[in-house]
Assembly symmetry: C2
């Protein structure tokens, strides 16, 4: 397999998944209470559920492209706090979080739907929230195609995104011998939350990374076309998401934490724990032109580790020493 063209290989995975009628085609999930709950549900659903567990679902094929779709909820006091973000930022960020799942699949957006649950006390800020949704949609080139609006007791935005990929990037398709790359600099959301939680104002650049993340759509399509083998976006934190990728691909991964690109004032361990970054982790044979990527997108692409045989395991190194990885974020254990 290792000599095969990565696009052809991922096409084959796609086509096998589409033919697959057994529910065993689900992507392997990591550990934790949230994933235990999902595993129990999948067991009960049996063959009624198919191909669950990647950043987005492959629905069908569109000629030579795969149609991918993902849905993502942002709920007040779970995913955001009204005193930390403006209403425009709340709409922008919820939409970007969903669009980032298309980036994680190497897919070009086709459009999005916004289901808004709006309490009475938020009604006066509704248009600002939808302005933020519009900003994120426009930035990603995703037309808004529909949605739903309901009364509710708490503000909730569920954004569904649709996209098309010539050959989708899965989290299951990393290969021994690949290198691990990450886009951008990590730790901004961590630093912003640290400041908010201490009652301080975050530094301007940290707040911006927290409030105005960018879904790496164009970057992902470029990476997909330039040999990436697998990808995941960083929502639970680099450390947690690289574990998801290792488990899904059934490989061993070694990460050099001191290579992790960090924003000012954040240590590599804290940067690796920082969630809701919406940067991408990709694997690829050691052939990605990081300089061309940087000059094209004005964004760093950094090689931070490598993939080996071994199973479902990530080793985090600081220099020559192996260190325990930082914990991930789970909505069900916090």
């Amino acid at each position: 397999m290792s000599g095969q063209d990565p696009i052809r290989r991922r096409r084959a995975i796609e086509q096998r998944a589409m033919r697959e009628t057994e529910h065993t085609a689900h992507t392997a999930l990591g550990s934790g209470a949230e994933f235990d709950a999902i595993r129990r549900i999948l067991e009960r659903w049996g063959p009624r559920a198919k191909r669950i567990g990647d950043d987005a679902a492959i629905v069908t094929t569109l000629g030579d492209r795969a149609l991918v779709v993902s849905t993502d909820s942002s709920i007040e006091n779970v995913h955001f706090r009204a005193d930390w973000l403006t209403p425009v930022e709340i709409g922008y960020r919820a939409t970007t979080a969903a669009l980032s799942d298309l980036a994680a699949m190497g897919a070009k957006p086709l459009g999005l739907l916004a289901a808004l649950a709006v309490p009475e006390e938020w009604r006066s800020r509704l248009e600002q929230i939808t302005d933020g949704i519009g900003d994120a949609a426009e930035l990603a080139g995703a037309p808004i195609l529909g949605g739903d609006m309901s009364r509710s007791g708490e503000l909730g935005l569920t954004i569904t995104v649709l996209g098309a990929a010539r050959a989708a990037l899965f989290r299951t398709s990393a290969r021994p011998g690949d290198q691990v790359y990450v886009t951008g600099r990590l730790g901004g959301p961590f630093a912003a939350l640290r400041a908010f939680n201490s009652g301080e104002s975050p530094a301007r650049e940290h707040r911006k990374r927290f409030a105005r993340p960018v879904a790496r759509i164009a970057e992902s399509i470029w990476l997909n076309e330039h040999g990436a083998t697998a990808a995941i976006d960083i929502s639970d934190g680099f450390a947690a998401d690289i574990r998801h990728l290792a488990v899904a691909s059934r490989v061993g991964i070694t990460i050099q934490l001191d290579r992790l690109p960090c924003v000012d004032g954040v240590s590599p361990l804290d940067a690796a724990a920082s969630g809701e970054e919406y940067e991408l982790i990709v694997t690829a044979p050691a052939a990605l032109d990081t300089s061309e990527f940087a000059s094209r997108f004005g964004l760093e692409l950094t090689e931070v580790g490598d993939v080996a045989h071994g199973k479902d395991e990530v080793r985090f190194m600081l220099g020559d020493e192996q260190v325990p990885g930082p914990p991930g974020y789970s909505h069900f254990t916090k």
Copy 2:
């Protein structure tokens, strides 16, 4: 236009909508606070939003089919009450409500995504809720392809459904000269809610229509293939939804309320106000074989009115007398 094959005509509408780059391609919306809010949002979104306002959105074409998608939220104490429905029924009903939007487009399901917002006190009933989602998905032949799970303060289920239609049924495409048909018998949910609100137990058949509605998927595909020109599903109530269809198609419609098929113990006016029926209203030239439909699906198809020139107006008749139509349901005015 009136002599043209209805499928070719709707294909042309589809293709014009897909070429359309102006936001003026939105479907005309009815009156009321909810729609005023949506109109204001659409104005602010401008060209960032496209083709909003039908039961489901056309995303792209799949060879000779259109890909349609819709998202629908069900929120505790807005769309359901925990003392009126079992957890299985809550999951089933939320999923059926979303699938019904595919039926309203004449589309065959490709799959669905379930975004679940789950408060701590609901965790023990989560698997029953997802059993209900699985039941509805299986009944409609829609594999579950993905989703999202979050903590929250109130139970919310946002179900996104994807489908394909050879030529989608819009609410904009009813024509003067068409007849108006409705599937099934109306009023069950009205009667169930009337009983619940009086502290009584609803009759068994009324409760079943309320708790276990059926998305009319196979029926819709048959109607689409047998000459239907336009369709909408009954979620806001027959009277409100026929008004939506008249406004969207820019036609006048006359409804003979005494022809409305009603469940036992419910008057035509109350049946016309009954929401969350998930039966279909379709328009078609006076050529639908209602007997064949009834014997094929074990479900009535009843002709209840007709479409004429005129604009955005529905006349409700009881015998020879015009009566005021019953009000519709709006989450934002109740």
